[in-house]
Symmetry: C2
Subunit: 88 residues, 2 copies
DNA sequence: TAGATGTTTAGGCAATTGTCTAAATGGTTA
DNA sequence: TAACCATTTAGACAATTGCCTAAACATCTA
């Protein structure tokens, strides 16, 4: 849960997720959307990978990144506990 | 959205939210649950307040903190966009 | 008004984070 | 194999974060 919020706590990483929501993309294609160096994007992708929010699959020279939707449910679940009316 | 994830990206702050889910509490009562100085807890509360995740209402010397449930929906809404099947 | 209690503000410090450039790794193709 | 392209790793640096102690502020009560 901590890794998840850490990964989500950055505008660039959230933008990457929104990009991947539209279409799976290679690391380079992702980087092309930002005014940030490729190594930095690579680092962001690593953090997203560790949080299991994205998955990277190598295909030749390219590594194609895509969302791992299931993990989002975990965060949603944590947040949902506050919306139920089980106050003491 | 940025302030929200920033506020949520800390174990102590998330624990404070879980405490307040059970019962509204004063700043001092909240601090008593942690092995952290009161000023530090006060600072955490300030961050939660800025994110509008909690509300503090003074009652005499005490300030009673409670959750502002509505804001949680904003985060849930952002996360939900990834679970729909509107991929291109 | 003093003194006591609850909370926040101020200032400082170590750890973490996001960025960069340079160099290394993995894979393709001539 | 050599040149090339895609990506990551390494190392450095400034900005941010979370913690602390000391001091200030706010409120109540004697």
């Amino acid at each position: 849960m901590n890794n998840l919020f850490k990964a989500l706590n950055d505008p660039t990483r959230r933008a990457i997720l929104e990009l991947l929501k539209e279409e799976d993309q290679s690391a380079g294609a992702i980087a092309a959307h930002f005014d940030i160096s490729k190594p930095s994007i690579s680092h962001h992708l690593d953090i997203l990978k560790r949080a299991e929010l994205v998955v990277g699959i190598r295909s030749g020279q390219f590594i194609h990144y895509s969302l791992n939707m299931t993990v989002f449910d975990e965060v949603i679940g944590w947040l949902m506990q506050f919306n139920s009316n089980n106050k003491k």
